[in-house]
Symmetry: D2
Subunit: 459 residues, 4 copies
Amino acid sequence: MPNTATFSPPVSAAALPAWAVRYRAVRAQSTVLCAPLLPEDTVVQPTLDVSPPKWHLAHTTWFWETFLLREYAPGYQEFHPQYAYLFNSYYNSLGSRVNRADRGTLSRPALAEVLAYRAHVDAALLALLENEASLPEVFFELLELGLQHEQQHQELLATDIKYILSTSPLAPAYLELKVKSEELRVNSTEAEASAESILNSSLLTFNSTSAAQWLPVPGGVHRIGFQEEGFCFDNELAAHDVLLVPFELQNRLVTNAEYLAFIEAGGYRDFRYWMGEGWDLAQAQGWEAPLYWVRQQGGWFRFTHHGLRPVELAAPVTHISFYEADAYANWAGARLPTEAEWEAAARHFEPTTAAGTWLESSLFDPQPLPADADPTQCHQLLGDCWEWTYSAYHAYPGYTRAAGALGEYNGKFMVNQLVLRGGSCATPESHIRISYRNFFHADKRWQFTGLRLARSSDQ
Amino acid sequence: MPNTATFSPPVSAAALPAWAVRYRAVRAQSTVLCAPLLPEDTVVQPTLDVSPPKWHLAHTTWFWETFLLREYAPGYQEFHPQYAYLFNSYYNSLGSRVNRADRGTLSRPALAEVLAYRAHVDAALLALLENEASLPEVFFELLELGLQHEQQHQELLATDIKYILSTSPLAPAYLELKVKSEELRVNSTEAEASAESILNSSLLTFNSTSAAQWLPVPGGVHRIGFQEEGFCFDNELAAHDVLLVPFELQNRLVTNAEYLAFIEAGGYRDFRYWMGEGWDLAQAQGWEAPLYWVRQQGGWFRFTHHGLRPVELAAPVTHISFYEADAYANWAGARLPTEAEWEAAARHFEPTTAAGTWLESSLFDPQPLPADADPTQCHQLLGDCWEWTYSAYHAYPGYTRAAGALGEYNGKFMVNQLVLRGGSCATPESHIRISYRNFFHADKRWQFTGLRLARSSDQ
Amino acid sequence: MPNTATFSPPVSAAALPAWAVRYRAVRAQSTVLCAPLLPEDTVVQPTLDVSPPKWHLAHTTWFWETFLLREYAPGYQEFHPQYAYLFNSYYNSLGSRVNRADRGTLSRPALAEVLAYRAHVDAALLALLENEASLPEVFFELLELGLQHEQQHQELLATDIKYILSTSPLAPAYLELKVKSEELRVNSTEAEASAESILNSSLLTFNSTSAAQWLPVPGGVHRIGFQEEGFCFDNELAAHDVLLVPFELQNRLVTNAEYLAFIEAGGYRDFRYWMGEGWDLAQAQGWEAPLYWVRQQGGWFRFTHHGLRPVELAAPVTHISFYEADAYANWAGARLPTEAEWEAAARHFEPTTAAGTWLESSLFDPQPLPADADPTQCHQLLGDCWEWTYSAYHAYPGYTRAAGALGEYNGKFMVNQLVLRGGSCATPESHIRISYRNFFHADKRWQFTGLRLARSSDQ
Amino acid sequence: MPNTATFSPPVSAAALPAWAVRYRAVRAQSTVLCAPLLPEDTVVQPTLDVSPPKWHLAHTTWFWETFLLREYAPGYQEFHPQYAYLFNSYYNSLGSRVNRADRGTLSRPALAEVLAYRAHVDAALLALLENEASLPEVFFELLELGLQHEQQHQELLATDIKYILSTSPLAPAYLELKVKSEELRVNSTEAEASAESILNSSLLTFNSTSAAQWLPVPGGVHRIGFQEEGFCFDNELAAHDVLLVPFELQNRLVTNAEYLAFIEAGGYRDFRYWMGEGWDLAQAQGWEAPLYWVRQQGGWFRFTHHGLRPVELAAPVTHISFYEADAYANWAGARLPTEAEWEAAARHFEPTTAAGTWLESSLFDPQPLPADADPTQCHQLLGDCWEWTYSAYHAYPGYTRAAGALGEYNGKFMVNQLVLRGGSCATPESHIRISYRNFFHADKRWQFTGLRLARSSDQ
């Protein structure tokens, strides 16, 4: 098979109408996400993992300039000779670049300049698309990849913005930024009442509806990896068979209420549930709860895109590291599913993507399972939160790293990280699919990460 | 003697007209300095020493709120309950605060909110001043101190802004920021010609005019410390006698041309001229020239408030650490003056402040000594650059730390730093006086710091 | 299945004669290994991974005291009340302990005291064994585990001693330490001649004999994990089926000659072959060759237990990290086998353990493949060097962590590390078996670690 | 004046009999100090400041080899070609060397080899001295310096050994190391009784005898610096006049009882007494008392050369940093003397060296002031503990750094440190003199460092 294109099965340009429409839509989404921000919010890098929104806006643009315009747009004039240095993320193939840790020290180019950069590149790319017929097939493969790449950064924008706003003692709410930040701060008495009422109502909802069910998944040979039509990343290939013993999976994600029980049972103070490195880290960092959780006014709150809000008990727990997910599972007498188990189960249960997941829904938080959800179905598999699996992010059998800079896109990260599955409330809808492999180090918590329990069938 | 106020000799409110006028003028200067900046420029902290301009604007305002309005303005409503935490710099007396290293991670409060904070505080303070007669004398001492404090931060604003803009590969010029940053970048061919012509002309000027002269200063008992009328900081007190042996001082600052000779003679590669800690640091950091110097197009350029400019040979060298100043002096067969020698000499020579020193002159660089300067006079003592002395910043005899938070203003820093004298081109004019003691650690380079050679008389 | 004993299948005491004989032999081996050392050599910790030999001798003794004597020897008097604190390695279950990084800062207890500690514990344990019949079965399980544990530390002793001696510019040879260290140093002219002759002869040998062969391994369902009689560690369980596609494996390990070709082809300067984290580390550390290699006198030498010796070209390459093994494989157009592939192949080829592998052979280096080795056989699978696999060290299906302190033995490390297979020239013979799972982080190089190439069958 | 030798006034060889006798005696003292140690104790470096005793023994020997034998012993064969690299301390003039932080990672050369090195060098040097007449004057200047240098390291040996033994939970007592370490450990009930009785008796003694007296010192011109016959270090020159205002000094050192009052008054928890950098450090390190103090059994103990002992209340406090000394003085309403004040006072009071100070006295702790001490005299000025002064370690007027490697002996450290005066109970007697300038960074605590209070006369 002539699998030269690492990132996608062959794409016929003729078959795909309206590249320009899609390009415009995807590009617009990035700036829409930043619209509620002030220029100041787009500059800072409060921790190494979180990049300044201004940088995301520029880096995605650099991607188009570097991989498409320089190659395929005759006479294209680059916007600025230094931007290749400033906005390369990690491509050694493309030369030296700003140290990642220094992204938040650069005030220039300013947001306005970055937006001008975007306009410059968009104009050139849309001009190119006016004459689609003259472009080679590989151009459209790169175009597809560029769109996917930009969407991946949209999810990072959502989570990085959340982190940036959370560091301020003022706790500004992303989704109400039109309102004076003054008025947003949780008024203590009101909040207390509100917290109580929410706690009560959540608990009620929770109590009445959501005892999790164990659903059996048959053993035997299952085929995993991308087997559908359309785009996929190279790391989803090749599709291959795996042999599984029968196991069981819970019919929904672990909830905040369940996780709170773990906290209250001393889960963060008992090393027996933890991987050694996780335990050491949790001690060194003083972890006592998921990221963004704060205990105040006699209850738990968490920082959200809506500002500080009481923890909603029936909603899935998020912003936990692999170490916490694993410790919770140990405490609960269960385990995390492997990547292969997760995908086999997902293919077995044929889930649909969560309604209202994507960014424009303004929800930005995985939703509780409705009280009337069918307990024999497997819920919240797609588009709620990234589910930690107990599988290292390694290459699939038959994977080969692409040549050139794009070989650095996924391939060089295939060690020391863990696979997450399912997509989150901040994942662009077109990225939510059964074979999609997300990956992070075991200590990361700033994405919408949660867990679902698995267990062996003979338990 | 009723010198209870550590920071100033007694001040009679009646004798000082127009407090309100001065207050307005000083406060306005801070915002004027930030006017050319974009909001993005006011957020970042590219190195620990450099604070975000937004922080300076808020911290100086916090000072007024904390030390004056809370104490003396009945019914004053603080602007925001969290600002005391956010904008305390280093006063343990006033409780916990944002870690200094994290100042650049906070995007909020935004610049506009900080400006609103300034307006809120200014209104309250000016309202208070409408009824001067009702205020106690100590209020006016604190008012004076607040003005001095704000002016000290203006010098830091000037140097921090310079550092911030320097980190961008775009090298934006503070003083031409109305022009598109694009057009500011040194056009390579033009610049090369310009560099060459400047190099030539500078060398000519330098060669024809400025061989430094050694001026004798008599030995014996000299009185140093503040002995004049008006305000001084507590660290300038008490005036006291020192015994000096005769010595000689150069009649001007060391120039870039002279310093370049040190560089070219291998001064940065020969440990014999260096203090041990200085040598280790210079090696670890790869120092080869003063801060902001870059070698390109066959010559030396330096980043200035005007952007990247060829090094002006006849101008005083600046942006050097104590280690470099000391190494240069050793290489030149001379030494740095002590603090007492510097002040005794300055009182002996009766200098005047450099014309056009202060910020509004838009020069922001110490100027070369005019070709026709009288070689028997001592030049560039005040208002050109901070001159490193070979004296630790210790308390003068008779100094006592003030009680309360203001005791932390100067007193707790009186170890491990070195005294600098004379004031720089970025120092507010009212801060330029013979007894003023500036102090920094031996490794600091981001202020306008230079040196003047001394030697013992019998050499 | 009543698999309560995590570390071994049930052991019948009656069936195992001569526990005391084995105990004595294993314990003696530890001290024999340290016999050539001076007390000074037993104290230092030149890098975090390397523990002082004195610590190994004490920690293994602590294991017996803690898990067996305290539990099963009535009236046992502990040797010293502080030793439980001093010599606990990583068992949170057993309380606080010396920070791992500080092991090399403690001169006391001295070596002689540690040897007295060993004698004290040995006497107590041998006394206990005189009355075997009175001891419960679990005692013998722990006894077996203690012996295995001590043997694991013997391999660490061999590699840690090597590292310790290597840090001295004197390069003392462990195996000739009776000779004056003076005489051991490579005499430069002699060595040069010797190096050249060895280089030549090695190359000849290599050229004439050892082109590696690709051996096919059939696909389908393979059973891996411990399936034999006798002891195994809990991490080798449960045996389970895996599904493999057909693949090929080289019939021997990668040699120094082959690895040298990678070096000379610029493998350490070309990021394309490397995992991202490996590349960054290699740059930061300045890696140019395996650990212990030094270029001198126009050739490559390596520090060994015999001192500094020319690199033997036909011998397997060792002391490489996973990153280097993976980069080499990429450069060679192949890949590393997975853990399952390795074990399936090993079971397929029925290897025997390398002759003369174990410590007393005094070889301490994997040997070249003989020139007349059958090319249709798979060689060097067991007892030559640890072979990096491309499999994360995760729990096998059905694994459950043991309760209590022993649950920390293997289980809490099951993330962020990679599996190595096969055993090395420093591995005790009884630890060399097909199902044994060793594990290290991807950056570790101080063990005898090498690689064997794999590839998919359709290449 | 032909004062070319920076380190000493001219020395006439003829006038100094018995160089060989002195050389033997000084050299022997170094090994005698190490005699109670085990080889293990001579290897470790538990903190950066503390060098392994084995290193001290070798480095002092290297000094003789490098500065005397290589220059003046024709045909001298160096002991080992690598030792120049291994045992150079900080002389850039003499090339690269082992990183200071790695001194404790080298087990080789072993102690026996170092002792052989010492014998080799001693034989060569004593052979040279058999023909004194043929040696130039500068040789004897270097000989004197070598002896002084070796003695300085003897004080470091005493304090470094103390630190090394203190790190062991076994708390071995240097001075009773013949006794089994077992028996040395403080028996808890005995110790409690003993502690109580000592606490009581000390307090009684203290209360009845030792209220400190303030002794006036006249103002005016005082001459400080070396003005006597014999050897001095270059940093004691040139003698010069200083102008002082009248002040007062306490007639004895601050005692443990007084310091304990500071601790109990919350001195370690109140930032107002502290220099800013000292406060931050004390918080970060969790300081609550001097180095070596531990609170147990209801009282304070401290680790000494005799093992763990109750704090003797009437003895001078030691093992405090400058920060603590300064904070204590602030709390006590006094201040530290300057270096010039200390020396002027010492010359005014004509102290004698403490009886029984030096190492062979086996005391290793400054002794309490006798109850019948004359309160009008100034006590404990010489040979009790190093007294922190409030003076930076800067060059005296007229100081010039020597050329060559010896210019690195003192000159390159003349910034960022503070002067200590008076000599301690571990200082070789010939080093105890009024003009001697010791120097350490403000945070150092492992020397015998204490303080004496000063105050201005008009208080």
